[in-house]
Symmetry: C2
Subunit: 201 residues, 2 copies
């Protein structure tokens, strides 16, 4: 369809960019042309950065957060409270929580959410490892900080049931109107949720 007859390498590069999340064909073209317009050393440095990050960054064996060290910097930080575990879907959610600068416990990264539709079952996630941590470590609270989606809900209630036998308190992030939200622009589900969980003044 497009004109890259003798440019199979450009076509391939465009397709690679297009395979990335939320990059459409036009953006992919623009990015590929950009990389061909910069000095070869810069393109090489970009490629090296991808390879090095991909090779050297791995999962923390305890919480499955990303790390370049043996264990991640949260697990390694002795000043953090090991009795609280915040459960998130992905490493980027750890970054989102840390940005708040208020949470001082540890994490547990599931690697996704339970989804019958996508065929993701609990044992394909790091849910068994979470149960083991709660059983073996001295955990007082498990905060479920999953996305506020149907799959997040399913996963939240699955883990809640799974952890019932243990002494740890299981909580979840509050659901309601986001800070700064205009009522007239909020969707029905959010308003309904905020109404059901209304708080005493």
């Amino acid at each position: 369809m497009y004109y890259h007859k003798d440019l199979s390498l450009l076509t391939e590069l465009i397709e690679r960019f297009e395979s990335l999340p939320s990059i459409g064909h036009r953006s992919a073209e623009r990015l590929a042309y950009h990389l061909l317009s910069v000095p070869k050393e810069e393109a090489q440095a970009f490629a090296d950065s991808i390879v090095k990050a991909s090779r050297e960054i791995h999962r923390c064996p305890r919480c499955f957060n990303l790390t370049q060290q043996e264990i991640c910097c949260v697990c390694a930080d002795k000043s953090r409270d090991p009795k609280i575990i915040c459960v998130v879907e992905a490493p980027k959610d750890v970054a989102a929580m840390e940005r708040v600068r208020q949470y001082n416990g540890l994490y547990h990264v599931l690697g996704g959410c339970i989804s019958p539709v996508k065929g993701v079952s609990p044992d394909q996630l790091h849910i068994p490892e979470l149960a083991r941590r709660v059983a073996e470590e001295d955990v007082e609270e498990v905060i479920l900080a999953l996305n506020n989606s149907v799959e997040g809900e399913v996963t939240t209630s699955f883990i809640n049931k799974l952890l019932l036998p243990y002494a740890a308190r299981v909580t979840r992030l509050a659901s309601g109107l986001p800070v700064g939200a205009l009522l007239e622009r909020s969707d029905e589900m959010t308003i309904l949720r905020a109404l059901e969980r209304r708080e005493e003044l």
Copy 2:
């Protein structure tokens, strides 16, 4: 500011993505996390694609379009009319023109536009090579197909003056309302231009 304490390689990868055009910090983060979530072979293949494209794609010595061959596929195509040269800013503009499937002449890629503000002078572009082509080859028409911007205008009139001594006709793409445009949503400059250049029915 963000939380990537022991993840210098992730931070670097995010910065690399951020240096690409129209990729903001959040998009860069998402792309970097994505590349860490795919199999290492896939990340490696992406990096290889960048390096190979950057190494093997170069400028056509005649028209400065991108090519993997000795000369580009337009210049190499004997069925195209060598008496017409379409002048564009960048290789992606060649792709845009080719998508129309109506133009059958050759190209000349300037590598940018004249811009006193950005300090780009005519001899930093492939303008001398264009003058040489017009002087030495049997050129009947030069179509200036530059962006419809201030810099495009400046470059268009510079090249027009430069080519005055030669027999070749110098034309430019028409300026006016784009196809499908709503008058009420068109900007003043576009309407003014369309009014000034109104056509007899």
